[in-house]
């Protein structure tokens, strides 16, 4: 993807990373949600810890659930969180 994008974190993903949101600018080679997880994981121990088990990480692009292989192109807001436990 090109340019800056807002990333949000919730629940224990937020706690491990220590931020509720941030603006990141990944390189062009980061094309999918899964690529972004990999790229973020390399940013530091707190990210590596949050994303240590990518299978349990859920993602949303612009407030819609997406899969790991979904393209980031056009995304304004990307969120990462654990499986939901509302209701």
């Amino acid at each position: 993807m090109r340019g800056k994008v807002k990333v949000l974190y919730f629940a224990w993903v937020r706690e491990r990373i220590g931020k509720t949101e941030e603006i990141v600018e990944p390189p062009a080679a980061v094309r999918t949600v899964g690529d972004l997880v990999t790229w973020l994981s390399a940013r530091g121990e707190e990210y590596a810890h949050a994303f240590e088990n990518p299978k349990v990480i859920r993602a949303a692009i612009d407030r819609t659930h997406v899969k790991q292989d979904t393209a980031l192109a056009g995304a304004r807001e990307i969120a990462f969180f654990p499986p939901m436990t509302g209701g």
């Binding site: 949000l8 919730f10 629940a11 224990w12 949303a60 407030r63 819609t64 659930h65 969120a79 969180f81 654990p82 499986p83 939901m84 436990t85 509302g86 209701g87």
Partner: protein, 164 residues
Amino acid sequence: MATIRLQREDFDVAAEQRKLSEGRGDIGAVVTFTGICRGGEGAEDIAAMTLEHYPGMAEEEIARHVTEAEQRWALKGVTVIHRYGRMVPGDNIVLVLTASSHRGDAFAAAEFLMDYLKTSAPFWKQEERTGAAAEKTSWVEARDTDQAATDRWNKPNRGRTAAE
């Protein structure tokens, strides 16, 4: 027709039911589901629970499933209220209210909405315990049985029910 609200404060089941059905002669069946904070069982009871949500997405995700429910069943009205913030055992958490001419549609739509709320609405529960675990908080883990309940609705013939 549908009312969707996220709020920190409590809700009043009777008032919501009245708003939805008062003065109407076309509603024959109203189903309400109230989800309540449980205290748990055993020595390390739940002292409180904090619900975190994704503002914006939570409303949109609920609205998508309300629209789907309205397409699958003949509904005369739907209300979904989900609280966030800190709650203690006995506190209301969530309300789903469905109104229809006939009971089958109201029951199915309410259960469908609850199953999807559990597995796809962006809310996360964190528990505080009593006793030796009083200092610890822990995130509630998603349960496979909730996903299984949701998956039922993707089977064929789970639209209009026989009980119309």
